[in-house]
Each structure stands twice: as C-alpha cells, then as structure tokens.
C-alpha cells in the first residue's frame, strides 16, 4: 500500500511533534511514524511496577520554550504542572543541605561571601545565557557560504557580544571553552555549591567537571531560566503527559500519528530521500522526510552509508554519542526519610554529589567503560506533588544516575543487580531505612535507554554537547541548518542545533527552515 503525504516525520519525540505542528499549521500534510506505543519519545511515562508509574527518561521540565508552549496551546491540550519553581538541594548525609533556586542559595554551611559571590555569578552568567538563548532560537548561521539571513544572525550575535560590555565579553570568551571546575574554584569556597553547579554542567553528558567545555554545559542549562523556568518543574502525570498534550495539539492540526510503526529504512529515489519502509513492509512516500531520530540512527541506520559519499559517512561515524547516564526507579511503600528534609521539601530536586572531585571520580570510571563506584544522583520523588503516580500512600523515587557506561566489561546483566545494590546503599546514607521501603525497582542503563527510546548510545542529547559538536558543527560539518546532507531529508531532533533537553527548539527551528527553503511545496 502506498500513501502519499507531503512530509513523513520519523519519530514522535517532542521535537518531532513540535516540528509537525508548525508544518501542519503551514498547510503541509504530515504523517508521523513512531515505533513506540506512546507519543513523546523521551518525554515518557511508564508503569514500572503495578500501580507505580514514573517519567522514565526525562524527569524534569525546565527548558521548554515558551513560544512553543503557546503555539501548541499545550495547556488547552491537557498539560498541567504538578509543581514549578522547584529548588535543587545538594544532600548532606548529616542533613546540612544546600539549596539553590535561581539567584538564591541557602544552607547551614554556606558563607555570606559565597552567597554574594553566587548572586553576582548568577547575574553575570545569566547575561551569557540570554545571549545563548537567542542563538538557540534561530538556525545556526553558516560562516562561509552565508546568505543574508546568516550574516544578519552573525551580526546580531556580534552585537549581542558587544552589548555585554567589554569586560563581560572578554570574560565570556575566556570561560566559554573552559571547564566548570576551574570556574568554580575561581568564584566560590563552598564545596557544596561548587558541586551542585558542576553537576548541572555535566548532566546527561560524557564529561566530568574537569573536562573543558563544561562551562558551556552550565550555560546550556541556564537557558531554561531565560525561557521562564525558575529551578525545575514537574509535569502532572509524568513527562508522558507532555508527550500526550503535544500529540493532541498536533492531531488537532490534522496530523496523522501512527504509533507502533517502526521505520526500517528511509528510501532513496535516485539520490533523494522519498519515502520510508516500515518493519511491517509497508511503504510510504512523501515529498520530504524529516527525522526526529538521532543523526546516527537516521543516517547510518535508516539511510545507510551505501547511499552517501565516504567523506560524509566518515563524519557521521565520528559523531560522539556515548551516553553515560542511567535511570533508577524505585517503588516505595512510604515516603522516604531523608535526613533533614520533610514533607513538601522532599518534592525538591535532590542531588547526591558531595564535592567536585567526587563527581570527577565518578566520571573517571566511565572513561574506561567501568561503572562508577560512588555515582552521582539527581533524585525526584514525583509522588510528593503528584500522588496519582502511585497507589494511595505509596511513593515513587526516580533518579538519574551518573556515570554508567553503555557497555561495561562482561555486559550489563553481570552488573545490573550489583549496581542497583550500590545505588540503594548510597541512597540509604542520606535516607536511612529506604532499603526496607523498596517494593520494586528498575534500572535503565544507557543500553536500555537506547533500546527503549532509540537514542544511540543512550545519549540524551543525541550527540555529545561539546563545543566541537554545537552550532554549525552540529550534528556534523556538511549537515547544518537542519539539512542532513541527503536531499529530501531533514533533521529535527536533539542531534540538530541547539541540542537536547525538552526545549522544542530543534523541532521549531527545523520546521521554519523547511518552510523558508520551500523544501516542501
């Protein structure tokens, strides 16, 4: 059977849905194909034990672009926040925690000097994040083969830099390439504060605080603040509810979403992408194919190296996409007892990362495909704000765990139980008695995340967010501005500019670019 659409979109991740929305709004007939059973991709909720459900990949909402949110009318389509302005709390085993929300930092161990230094630091880096946010909201400019639009955005960027003022401009150009470790040492004394901020800088990446470029990771995260998020927010019903709301918005535009439809290949008609074939053998043809899958899956997997030049194939194979974050989900028969926290405080973003060297050592392991002996954790207890995720009186704890390799020596099955055990012991140091409360547990390794969400290497960002893979180098030289290097095929996922995180900008920018170029009539 052959059905004709203007655009076939591979993958119903949040960026795919956003992209489809804008294309459909402009009158294009769009078909979305996704292998999963639910829309949203990594914005997913799943029931990991009877009655217990959890945001199984992305857990916090903190970067979704306000215009995307408005344009898709997500609130109308069912998006509800269970809580917002959630502070980050760096846990201390003795209960002397450090709490950061926006420009404010509180804690028993923090000095007045650090509080003031953090405020100044926050303000200064906030300016840089604002500049970055502008860059993120547009396609990345080409530098050589630039047209008028590119030159305009380059001039805007240059002006933006100048507008920072001479000192801040110089400061930005100095720090943007360095590591967060040094920047923290330059600015603060408190090991807790340094650890909290450097953990933010390496979230979801294959980097430690000492790795150069991690300041960029920090600024990347801070972009969320420019988009109106103070701290993080929690979606009611889990991140899957965001996927559902987006899907509803997209369907309202007349887009066809087919779930359970695994795309096996993107088909070439001559040297142009012209359709897809499903695992079931079904064919679809379209004027344009847009892929929300990561660049490696799209180009190496679905298109295949045989359909491109060697040089391009080589560049694609070199995309660094090593996931290093795992997910731990626990079903608990009561609210855990974290030392020094109670009630609503447990609904905050709880972090285990005592100091920067601890994080760095946790990272050391993954460089050699080993599992961190003392990992860092980003913990959420969603049931505090949203009790419906568990049976009455019961709770769910979910944590992003770093660092875990894609494939440890001996394979994950040899390590899964031991690693879960290690994590439970670590949690028990901060929440005595939690081990006894565990009813069920689930560990999703980077390999599992690849399997469940189709992300190569289990990498959240569809490719490392390192300076050699951002802007016009993202996803690889020769494919920028959402083109893939293959005619008739565009990229709209996190692998394209600006990158991962539930932001929606890759999808929106891609749709704009496709329409602007008249790629589909």
């Amino acid at each position: 059977m052959t059905e004709r659409h203007d655009v076939i979109l591979v993958g119903a991740g949040h960026n795919g849905l956003v992209c489809a929305h804008y294309l459909a709004k402009a009158g294009r007939k769009v078909l979305i194909l996704d292998s999963g059973d639910n829309p949203g991709g990594a914005a997913a909720t799943h029931e990991f034990a009877p009655g217990y459900s959890v945001s199984s990949c992305a857990q916090w909402l903190y970067q979704l672009h306000p215009q995307v949110r408005r344009d898709l009318e997500l609130e109308k389509h069912g998006l509800e926040l269970a809580a917002k302005d959630i502070a980050s709390v760096l846990l201390d085993a003795a209960g002397q925690h450090l709490t950061v929300l926006g420009a404010d930092v509180r804690g028993d161990q923090i000095s007045a000097g650090d509080i003031a230094a953090y405020r100044a630091f926050h303000e200064r880096t906030g300016k840089y994040a604002k500049l970055l946010a502008k860059v993120f909201a547009a396609r990345p400019p080409k530098l050589v083969e630039s047209n008028f639009t590119d030159r305009l955005s380059l001039i805007r960027l240059g002006l933006g830099l100048k507008m920072l003022g001479r000192d801040d401009m110089r400061d930005l150009m100095r720090i943007v390439l360095i590591n967060i470790y040094d920047l923290m040492e330059e600015n603060f004394d408190s090991p807790q504060l340094k650890a909290l901020l450097s953990l933010d800088s390496v979230q979801g990446s294959h980097m430690g605080p000492r790795t150069p470029n991690t300041v960029f990771g920090y600024l990347y995260r801070r972009v969320g603040e420019v988009f109106g998020y103070q701290g993080v927010a929690q979606v009611k019903g889990g991140m899957g509810a965001l996927g559902e709301a987006m899907a509803a918005a997209v369907r309202a535009q007349g887009v066809d979403i087919r779930l359970g439809a695994r795309v096996n290949s993107i088909d070439m008609i001559g040297d142009r992408a012209g359709g897809v074939t499903l695992a079931s053998g079904e064919h679809f043809t379209a004027e344009l194919v847009v892929s929300n899958a990561d660049p490696l899956t799209t180009l190496a997997g679905l298109v295949g190296y045989r359909n491109m030049e060697t040089g391009m194939a080589r560049r694609i194979s070199q995309i660094r996409c090593r996931g290093a974050a795992a997910r731990l989900h626990l079903a608990l028969d009561g609210l855990p007892n974290f030392t020094g926290l109670n009630g609503q405080q447990l609904g905050q973003r709880l972090l285990i990362a005592p100091d920067m060297n601890y994080i760095e050592r946790a990272f050391n392991a993954v460089k050699y495909s080993e599992i961190s002996k003392a990992p860092v954790m980003d913990i959420s207890i969603p049931t505090v704000h949203d009790p419906q995720c568990a049976p009455s009186g019961k709770h769910v704890l979910s944590a992003t765990v770093q660092f875990a390799p894609f494939e440890p020596a001996g394979g994950w099955e040899a390590h899964r139980a031991g690693f879960t055990e290690r994590l439970l012991n670590l949690l028990a140091e901060y929440a005595p008695g939690i081990r006894e409360q565990v009813v069920a547990s689930e560990l999703l390794t980077p390999a599992d995340l690849q399997r469940d969400y189709g992300m190569t290497g289990g990498h959240w960002h569809h490719g490392e967010l390192s300076l050699d893979q951002v802007m016009m180098m993202r996803p690889f030289p020769g494919a920028t501005q959402y083109a893939s290097g293959i005619d008739g095929l565009y990229l709209c996922g996190a692998g394209a500019h600006p990158g991962g995180g539930v932001m929606g900008l890759a999808g929106r920018n891609a749709a704009r670019e496709i329409l602007r170029r008249g790629a589909v009539a």
Partner: protein, 538 residues
C-alpha cells in the same frame, strides 16, 4: 644607579630574543638574570663530570626560523641537527616504530593495521592543514576582538579571511579540531592502540589535561608546527644541548651591544605615577629604565615582582586565576653505555628518536587520573631520548646521556609539598617502567638527576614547574593569553611589557613571544619595525 633604555627581567630564550631586537634597534638594553648562568629553561649544564644535561627543554623544532636567521644564530654557534626515528614499546614485547622513509613507515603501520596505514596519509594531510593555518600567526600580535582600533580590526579581518578561505566544511573541521580532544581526534583515524598512543602523547606533553580532554588536539600542533631546516614537523637537537640556543641568542644580543647581568635577582619593578621607572634588585642595586620587560611567567610578574598597589585590581585577580599547573617532571640520566629495549637492535634508527612505553590511550588517560588525584602517575607517560647518539658532545666517548620527560607529576602531593620520599617514589616509577623494557638499563645508570615540578620551579623560576608558563588551554591562548585585555604584550603600567611564554603564542622554545613583544615596544617608541613577521609556507 645604572641607567638603561630598557631592562629585561630574565635571561630565558624569550628575554634574550626580546633584548636582542631592542639592542639591534639601537636601545641600551640589559638583561637581568637571577641565576649565575643564562638560558632559563633553555639551559645545558655539566651536572655530572663529563656529562652535559639539558635538564629542562631538551629538543628543538619550534624556534622560529625567521628569527634564527635574522639574529644570525648559526653564525653565533647554533647548529640544530635533525633526528629521525621514534618508537613506542609495547607491553607484549613488540613495538611501533617511526621511520623517515615513507614506504618503510607505511609497512610498519600496516604491520599493525592496514587500515591505519592507509588512514595515516589522510591524518598527516589534515594535521598539516591546521599547521599551515596557524604558522603565519606565530610571529604576529593576537588581535583583540573587543577592540575597535584599526589595527585590531584589520588583523581580525585577516584572521577571519584565512579561516573563511577554508570553505564551510573546512572551517567546521578546523573549529572541531581546535575544540576536540586528541584522543577523539585520533580515534577518528586509527584503530590500533599503540599507534594512537604514539601519536597522542604529544597532545598532553606539559599540559595538565588528559588525552580525552577537549582542547588537546590543538596542543598536538605544538608538536607539528615547528621545523628543522624547512622540514615542517621535524625535530632536532641543538648541538651541545639546548643551552646552545640561549648561548647563540646571548652572543647575538651582545654583538648588538646589549648587556647580560647574571646573579641579579629582581626584587620589584619600580613604578611611579603609573609609569615604570626601573627595577630594584634583592641585593639593593637599582637600575633605572623607562621600559621594563618581564620574561617571567604572569604569576611571578604580577604577584611577585610587581606591587599590587601599582596594578589595577582586575589584573591581580586575573593573575591569581591564571592557570599555570605543574604537570611534568624529568629524569636526566648518565649512562655507561647504550641500553637495549624490547630486543631492538642497538643500531636501529628507531632509537635515535623519541621513545615511549605507553601503548594505549587508556594508559595515558589513567596517568592523568593520578594527576587529578594529586599524585604522580604510577604508570607515567615518558618521552625519552638519548641525544648522545646524534650529538656525541654531551657525554664522554662511548657513554650516553638520556633525557626522560615524564607526564604527569602534580605541583603538590595530596595538598602538600613534594618531599624527598615523594621524589624517590616518582623516580622509581619511571625507572621501573624503563627497566621493564630494558634488562640492562639499571646496570648502566651512572647518575640520575630527578626533577619534579618543585625543582623545575626552584631553578628555572617557572611557577608550579609549568613548562609553558601557563596552560595552553583556550581560555589562555591568542587574545586570552595571558589574560583578556593584556594579550598584546603591554602590561597595565606604562613602560611595562611581557615577553615570556605566558604570552602569545606560548611555550616551546619558539622565541616568538620575545620577538612579538619587541615589535610592540619599538612601535610604542615610534622606531622602525625590524622584527621579521612570519612567512607563509610555500
């Protein structure tokens, strides 16, 4: 009080180069040196009877040929002898060798991996592209992107043009190269551990970063952008040791009428009403001059010999935050004869070059993990040479001198100073590694001088023992070196300049910072520019 037009603090190769150009222009110049001998880290001394050790820098390639020619260094006795070879010994008893002959090199690579042998051509071309791009900028002042002065704008435009000339993809490839780690870069080309390790070690020499730290691919260039006799990328020995470079520069300086004053330990730079007046020595002597040039590293310059009250507060802060990390140590060894390694023939050409024992990037990276934990690498990366095979003047006939550069050694051990026991432990880890591949090595050792960052700092005056006078990371390169706003060799006080490796283009015995600083000084004095610029290759 003696009066000069200009005083240069420190008789390192950059200080001497700087002074030579000032003297050549007709200024009365004196170079003040703390040690009883000149050279700074470009030094050779007889530290064991009959043996000359170049106990800091040990090989030569980066010295800008434009300067060597212009200052007539060959006439003043400098002779650089290229060396070939190079080998990485594997733990399984095999080795990977580096040959001068193209076909021989291909066969050696293919012995390990045919794919790698084919990739090498592509790798060399790509690295050479980056090398050619950067070479013309070595003898140029870095433009200040935050400035609107015509000269900066012109330079920036020129800079931008040479980049846009690469084309969109070429430019992106270049930006990637500049921001990538040497490990990732090599992984793109090669599959064999030992080949990657052999090529990758140079990306971290002298650097407190690991092979998988982004930014280290650029450090690779510091290994490729030099030349010997016009052969870009090749390396050589200065005959008689690296001290010969300093000696030739000194003779050139003296020929132009400049003075060198040893045992002159500078206490401070005298500043009055925002202008430099001269320098005061620790022994009470004073020299007056309207121009004072510091060849010291930025930390020593601004935190030691200058008074905080003479400086803007931001400069003091920037100097405090300046990253100058000790990460290397060195062993200089007098040998009774030539040792054998992994069964390699003593006459093998491979032994003429740099020898290593680290046969995978993972071992290199783990060596870095030790540095982060504030201890010396238990399985270090060594860059070992026996220069007496090429230059027999450095040891008695039939005997040999071995120089072993060691990465990594931290400036402090677990937060404390290096103790003699630490030093012994450091030495042992290096000797053990070499001996594991050479059965007769231990018995041949006559004398061993071990230098940890502590000794390097004490003797050469390099803070923390950092051989480049500051990390070569992007926050400290080009217009950021040593700090933003002060990257054009001018200090924050009128008449004060910087000419050390802490300024653009950085360390390695290049002499470019000294020459570039001289150009700026002469410009400020409205004297003709006599400092040669960089020439473009072919």
């Amino acid at each position: 009080m003696k009066k000069y037009d200009a005083i240069v603090i420190g008789a390192g190769h950059n200080g001497l180069t700087n002074a030579a150009y000032l003297a050549k222009s007709g200024l009365a110049v004196a170079v003040l040196e703390r040690n009883p001998y000149i050279g700074g880290a470009t030094v050779s001394r007889e530290l064991y009877p009959g043996w000359t050790y170049s106990n800091c820098s040990y090989v030569c390639s980066l010295l800008r040929p434009e300067l060597a020619r212009d200052l007539e260094l060959p006439r003043h006795g400098l002779q650089v002898v290229p060396y070939g070879g190079g080998v990485t010994f594997k733990q399984d008893g095999d080795y990977y060798g580096n040959y001068y002959d193209h076909n021989r090199q291909y066969r050696e690579m293919a012995r390990h991996s045919k794919r790698d042998a084919n990739a090498y051509e592509r790798y060399s071309t790509d690295v050479m592209k980056q090398t050619r791009l950067i070479r013309p900028y070595l003898l140029q002042r870095p433009p200040d992107p935050s400035s609107l002065k015509p000269r900066d704008l012109r330079d920036l435009l020129g800079f931008a043009r040479s980049f846009t000339g690469l084309g969109e993809e070429g430019l992106a490839d270049t930006l990637k190269f500049w921001t990538k780690s040497v490990g990732d870069y090599l992984d793109e080309y090669f599959e064999t551990d030992v080949i990657k390790a052999h090529l990758g070690g140079t990306g971290v020499i002298g650097t407190a970063l690991g092979v998988y730290s982004p930014g280290t691919a650029y450090v690779l260039l510091h290994h490729y952008m030099g030349d010997v006799d016009g052969n870009v990328g090749s390396w050589g020995f200065a005959r008689g040791g690296m001290g010969a470079v300093a000696a030739a520069l000194a003779k050139s300086l003296q020929a132009f009428g400049g003075d060198i004053i040893c045992d002159a330990d500078v206490d401070r730079i005298v500043v009055s009403h925002g202008k430099v007046k001269g320098v005061a020595l620790k022994n009470g002597d004073e020299y007056s001059a309207d121009i004072v040039v510091s060849n010291l590293d930025p930390k020593r310059t601004f935190l030691d010999v200058m008074d905080a009250s003479d400086l803007p507060a931001d400069v003091v802060r920037k100097a405090e935050n300046f990253k100058i990390r000790g990460s290397s140590g060195k062993l200089n060894i007098a040998l009774d004869g030539l040792p054998t390694f992994n069964g390699l023939d003593k006459r093998s050409s491979l032994m003429l070059g740099d020898m290593h024992f680290t046969d995978s990037l993972e071992r290199l990276e783990r060596a870095y993990d030790d540095w982060k934990d504030e201890t010396w690498s238990k399985d270090p990366y060594v860059d070992m040479l026996i220069p007496t095979q090429t230059d027999p003047t450095m040891a008695p006939p039939g005997k040999h001198m071995m120089t072993v550069f060691v990465q990594y050694a931290p400036p402090k051990i677990n937060g404390g100073e290096w103790t003699d026991a630490d030093k012994a432990g450091f030495e042992k880890s290096v000797i053990d590694q070499i001996a594991a591949h050479s059965p007769d090595f231990r018995d041949l050792i006559l004398h061993c001088e071990t230098r940890t960052p502590r000794e390097i700092e004490a003797e050469a005056g390099l803070t923390e023992g950092n051989i480049f006078q500051g990390e070569l990371t992007f926050d400290q390169l080009l217009f950021n070196r040593p700090f933003p706003g002060y990257a054009q060799y001018r200090g924050p006080v009128r008449g004060m300049y910087m000419c050390g490796s802490g300024t653009h283009p950085g360390g390695g015995v290049m002499a470019a910072p000294g020459a570039n600083a001289a150009r700026e000084i002469l410009m400020d004095l409205r004297r003709p520019d006599i400092v040669p610029g960089g020439y473009a290759d072919d």
